[in-house]
């Protein structure tokens, strides 16, 4: 498909400009971009569930949190993950995220619609509760300070080097997830999103498909967590709190669910507004809240949906295009 190739080229061009341009700006922007990219990975992992499978999870911070806590605990208590073994921690982080998702999925995947939302919220709160109260392991409310960044030839204490590393993780995640959603498996997820019953009749084990998607999303959530521990330097219950899950969800919806890059755009906007605007004006949170409310009211397909909307306005006959992914959340309990 020519237009598809065109889009890929466009995204690649933007990324190249981004990675070449950002390091030449101020160190503040580099820091901001690094943070935004970590959350972009989290948002993209959530997009696999929300945009491609039609599962609105309110607990994605749980996998982010276990990844971050794992990194922090290994680094501070066992001095693991500060040299070459950083790569082992990356793999462990993805595995622990996947393992937690595999466990949580047993409870959550059965539920549909609003009930899925609630059960993922409850699961996320379980992890938060442990992080908040299990003082001996997690440091409780104070959290854990991760003072040292890994150094394996590449010295990651240098913000620019770290930026390049996080960018590499971000780009690879984007490519992997893109390949995933384009694969036959990814197409079957889209089928489940559009109409699960039809897929069941066609002989697909939809539970298993959703479960696998849930586990994959958990793995990438864990990866984002590992990177966050080193980006932020502090892992606290704030990392796993409900609002982190909600933030990720809003990033996806803001950018456009079901597009992958939408999550990255949403993350960039949220971090831009939150951390850049907050240095300029005291009322930045109104802007953020207002952007959320307006997007949800007027742009159900997010910013990435704007071209389609313009296109639609020009050719009114073509109104039955891609439906908003949010439409198919069945209200009935299973």
């Amino acid at each position: 498909m020519a237009s598809q190739n065109f889009k890929i080229l466009g995204v690649a061009a933007v990324l190249v400009i981004f990675v070449l341009g950002v390091p030449h700006t101020s160190s503040f922007v580099v820091l901001l971009a690094t943070r935004a990219m970590v959350f972009a990975i989290l948002a993209m992992s959530l997009d696999i569930l929300l945009g491609f499978t039609g599962l609105a999870s309110l607990g994605q911070a749980a996998y982010f949190g276990v990844g971050a806590y794992l990194t922090a605990i290994l680094a501070t208590k066992f001095h693991v993950g500060l040299g070459w073994d950083f790569w082992i921690v990356v793999i462990l982080g993805m595995l622990i995220g996947a393992a937690l998702a595999a466990f949580f999925g047993l409870f959550a995947i059965r539920a549909t619609g609003v009930y899925f939302l609630m059960i993922t919220l409850a699961l996320g709160q379980c992890v938060w509760g442990l992080a908040y109260r299990w003082n001996s392991l997690t440091g409780g409310d104070n959290g854990i300070n991760v003072t040292n960044r890994p150094n394996f030839g590449l010295d990651l204490t240098n913000e620019q080097t770290f930026f390049y590393l996080v960018f590499a993780f971000f780009a690879v995640s984007l490519i992997l997830l893109y390949v995933l959603v384009q694969s036959p498996f990814g197409r079957s997820l889209a089928g489940i999103r559009e109409r699960e019953l039809r897929m069941q009749i066609l002989g697909y084990n939809t539970w298993l498909h959703k479960y696998i998607a849930f586990v994959i999303a958990g793995a990438f959530g864990g990866l984002a967590g590992v990177l966050w521990a080193h980006t932020n330097g502090l892992v606290s219950p704030e990392t796993v709190v409900l609002t982190t899950s909600v933030d990720a969800l809003l990033m996806v919806v803001l950018g456009g669910a079901g597009t992958l890059v939408g999550g990255a755009i949403g993350s960039a906007i949220v971090f831009g507004l939150r951390e850049y605007l907050s240095t300029l004006v005291p009322w930045w949170q109104y802007v953020l809240g207002g952007v959320y409310v307006l997007t949800i009211l007027y742009l159900p397909m997010g910013l990435m949906g704007i071209p389609a909307r313009i296109h639609q306005a020009q050719s009114p006959s073509d109104r039955t295009g891609k439906m908003a992914v949010t439409e198919k959340l069945a209200p009935e309990p299973s």
Binding site: V114, Y115, A122, G290, L297
Partner: protein, 286 residues
């Protein structure tokens, strides 16, 4: 750990449950009638407390603060439902996200208007004393909280079971489409229920503010607890909310007293199990 310990902890759990009932019953009604997961419900609790503070500063009357705060927040809820939520139609995800957007806006507004300090709502002198029952000191304020929850629960129950409005609400909970079919104005019911839910949450905020304090972040602290109440009890069921509130109140208290490291886990893990096994909650209707 003698009998006294258990008695005091049970009493504390019940009185905390009474507060949770005020927050949870409103959330449960909103969910039952409209199937909306209202993530701004904690904000109503917090704003209720703040408005009450302002009323107390202005007039010095704690008694006046309770109805004024609750009514103010009820109007806020009504406007939110009428102007923003209704145009979305039935679309759970967008509704949830919209309520989150509002929760963030309310959070910032509260910070701007009332500042970031932890503040207390001081109840009248008469309620700050303790009474002695069988050698155990019981703070009168906690007894008052239980009384308030009982009174609220009873009046809600009377409205729901004995009035025409209540019958219409119950019909909407059971089957909104059928209710519309027999001529019930479900739009008006939704608006009323949303306002009522906000009213109850704000009431909880004023009453709870005296022993929890009122501070930024309280909104997202109360929200998951209110959800636990609703999920354990069953959505849309008043009796369920009462039992859910009692269970959560006790679980929270005993959890904190007996296994402090696992206290929140012991609260949310049962919530997960209930959702997995019976998504409509222990007492919810299918």
């Amino acid at each position: 750990m003698d009998a006294r310990f258990w008695l005091i902890q049970t009493f504390n759990g019940i009185s905390y449950g009474a507060l949770l009932f005020l927050v949870g019953s409103g959330l449960s009604l909103i969910f039952g009638v409209m199937r909306i997961v209202n993530l701004a419900h904690g904000s109503y609790f917090l704003l209720g407390g703040y408005v009450a503070l302002s009323v107390i500063w202005a007039t010095g009357s704690w008694l006046l603060a309770i109805p004024v705060a609750a009514a103010t927040i009820a109007v806020l809820g009504l406007v939110m439902e009428r102007v923003f939520l209704r145009p979305l139609g039935f679309d759970p995800l967008r509704q949830v996200l919209l309520t989150v957007g509002f929760a963030f806006l309310f959070q910032q507004a509260a910070l701007d208007i009332w500042g970031g300090n932890n503040m207390d709502i001081n109840p009248p002198e008469a309620l700050t004393r303790s009474i002695v029952v069988a050698g155990i000191y019981l703070p009168l304020y906690r007894v008052f909280m239980i009384g308030m929850a009982l009174a609220t629960g009873t009046s809600l129950w009377l409205v729901m079971e004995k009035t025409r409005m209540g019958a219409a609400i119950r019909a909407t909970v059971d089957d909104a489409q059928m209710a519309r079919g027999v001529g019930i104005d479900t739009n008006r019911i939704s608006m009323f229920i949303f306002a009522l839910g906000a009213f109850l949450a704000a009431l909880g905020g004023v009453i709870g503010g005296a022993f929890l304090g009122i501070f930024p972040g309280l909104d997202f602290e109360m929200l998951p607890l209110a959800f636990a109440v609703v999920i354990i009890g069953g959505m849309g069921s008043l009796g369920g909310a009462a039992i859910g509130a009692l269970l959560v109140g006790l679980a929270d208290n005993f959890g904190k007293a007996l296994f402090p490291e696992l206290s929140y886990f012991t609260l949310y893990a049962p919530m997960v199990l209930i959702l997995a096994v019976k998504p409509t909650g222990l007492f919810g209707r299918d």
